[in-house]
């Protein structure tokens, strides 16, 4: 099955302003939910997703077409997002801010049948690198090499992070079952 994101950089190079909203639609969801699972917080994930996409757009404005065409969009966006997450969010006062008409808004809730709070608790027990690697690999669905590129950690280390992270999650869930059974 052809991934619709494969063609995006090419189309973006030809028409940045016209195609960028599609980048937001296609990538925003994965960015948001990945960041939400890493941070456990809606507002942090929302801010980081918006900020990363806005910065990506301004960076793309300065790139020539060839550079945009060669871009591996999703790892590039994740690199921006995680850099932002490490630093503090800059003052947002120079920007128009959307009026929130009614709170809570649709789509912020976890998917059906998912106990988001429980997963936030479990994931928060992992070390930072383990949590990042597990979320990027299994929630967002990125490859090991992409995660290595994004996080700047060697491939072998990323594999170890994921392996240990998953083991820790299994241990936590077994303990939960044990408690539930009394």
């Amino acid at each position: 099955m052809a991934d619709p994101t494969d063609e995006l950089p090419k189309r973006l190079a030809a028409d940045l302003d016209g195609i960028f909203p599609q980048v937001v639609e296609l990538m925003g969801r994965r960015l948001y939910w990945g960041l939400r699972r890493m941070s456990g917080d809606h507002h942090t994930a929302e801010d980081l997703t918006q900020e990363a996409l806005i910065r990506a757009y301004h960076a793309l404005c300065g790139y020539d077409r060839d550079r945009i065409r060669e871009l591996r969009l999703e790892p590039w966006l994740w690199t921006i997002a995680l850099n932002l997450g490490r630093n503090h969010l800059r003052d947002r006062s120079r920007r128009p801010t959307l009026v929130e008409l009614d709170e809570p808004r649709g789509g912020v809730e976890d998917p059906e049948m998912v106990d988001g709070a429980a997963w936030d608790r479990r994931l928060s027990a992992l070390s930072g690198p383990q949590r990042t690697a597990v979320v990027l690999r299994h929630v967002v669905g990125l490859g090991i090499e992409e995660i290595s590129e994004i996080t700047g950690r060697p491939v072998g280390t990323v594999k170890t992070d994921i392996h240990r992270g998953l083991n820790r999650l299994r241990t936590i869930m077994e303990a939960e079952e044990h408690v539930a059974r009394g």
């Binding site: 925003g28 006062s93 128009p96 998912v114 997963w119 929630v139």
Partner: protein, 247 residues
């Protein structure tokens, strides 16, 4: 379900508001909000560069905006660094501390509109004067169309622009009477201006200083009435005022 399968199901929909926030933050869309004005409720559109438009909040204003810019439009709060200056800019009839985004018009039209923004409250200037101030004295008609398509009326005070013969002329924001309402509101007397135009008076001069001005220039209005004469043309021996720079 396997652990990996459960993790893969932890992804939901894109929350509402993110696409709009990004569109506003990149300038691919504008925000809008409503303000009071001497002409009633107006809608102001803006982005991170500044205020991009102003119109009466009536009828199909959203369609009018979208067809002019082609950009998206969302209800939003203006950037905090200048949002609080918008009501004063509308009331005073000049941008002041509010940045303006004039990308939707040509560079010459931008220069005309920036010259328009400099016309003091309660005074009027002609299209010919604007053409000269914008650097092309021959482009009087182009100055006229720049003013007619002013995207930010009230804040860029095109109601202070009159025909080169001194008659008040047209106005683009709502009914033609709105121009009279605005001029009255800021202390310019439309009846007096029309009377000057009928008599062909284009300048007024102070005989003691030897300086001539546009009739509404604040420096000639401060002169003693007995020292002021009406002029149809500049006359020899008089020099132009440095404040209002008459042609």
């Amino acid at each position: 379900m396997s652990l990996e399968g459960e993790l893969a199901a932890l992804i939901g929909e894109l929350p509402a508001g993110i696409s709009e926030g990004v569109a506003l933050g990149t300038g691919l869309a504008d925000g809008y909000d409503f303000y009071e004005s001497p002409l009633g409720m107006v809608v102001v559109t803006f982005n991170l560069r500044g205020v991009s438009g102003l119109g009466l909040a009536e009828g199909e204003w959203q369609q009018r905006f979208l067809s002019r810019t082609g950009r998206g439009l969302f209800r939003a709060e203006p950037p905090k660094s200048w949002a609080r200056h918008i009501p004063a800019a509308i009331e005073a009839g000049r941008p002041g501390k509010v940045p303006v985004d004039l990308r939707s018009v040509s560079p010459f039209h931008q220069r005309v509109l920036r010259a328009t923004a400099g016309i003091p409250r309660g005074e009027v200037r002609s299209y010919a004067w604007l053409a000269k101030e914008a650097g092309n004295p021959a482009a009087v008609r182009a100055a006229g169309s720049a003013v007619a398509r002013n995207p930010i009326p009230l804040m860029i005070p095109c109601h202070r622009v009159v025909r080169s013969d001194g008659h008040l002329g047209n106005y683009s924001l709502g009914r033609p009477e709105n121009k009279l309402i605005l001029l009255n509101h800021e202390g310019a007397d439309p009846g007096w201006l029309e009377d000057l135009a009928r008599r062909g008076v284009r300048y007024r001069a102070n005989v003691t200083t030897g300086i001539y001005c546009h009739p509404t220039c604040r420096s000639i209005r401060r002169s003693k009435p007995e020292n002021v004469i009406d002029l149809r043309e500049p006359i020899e021996g008089f020099r132009p005022c440095e404040v209002c720079r008459p042609a």
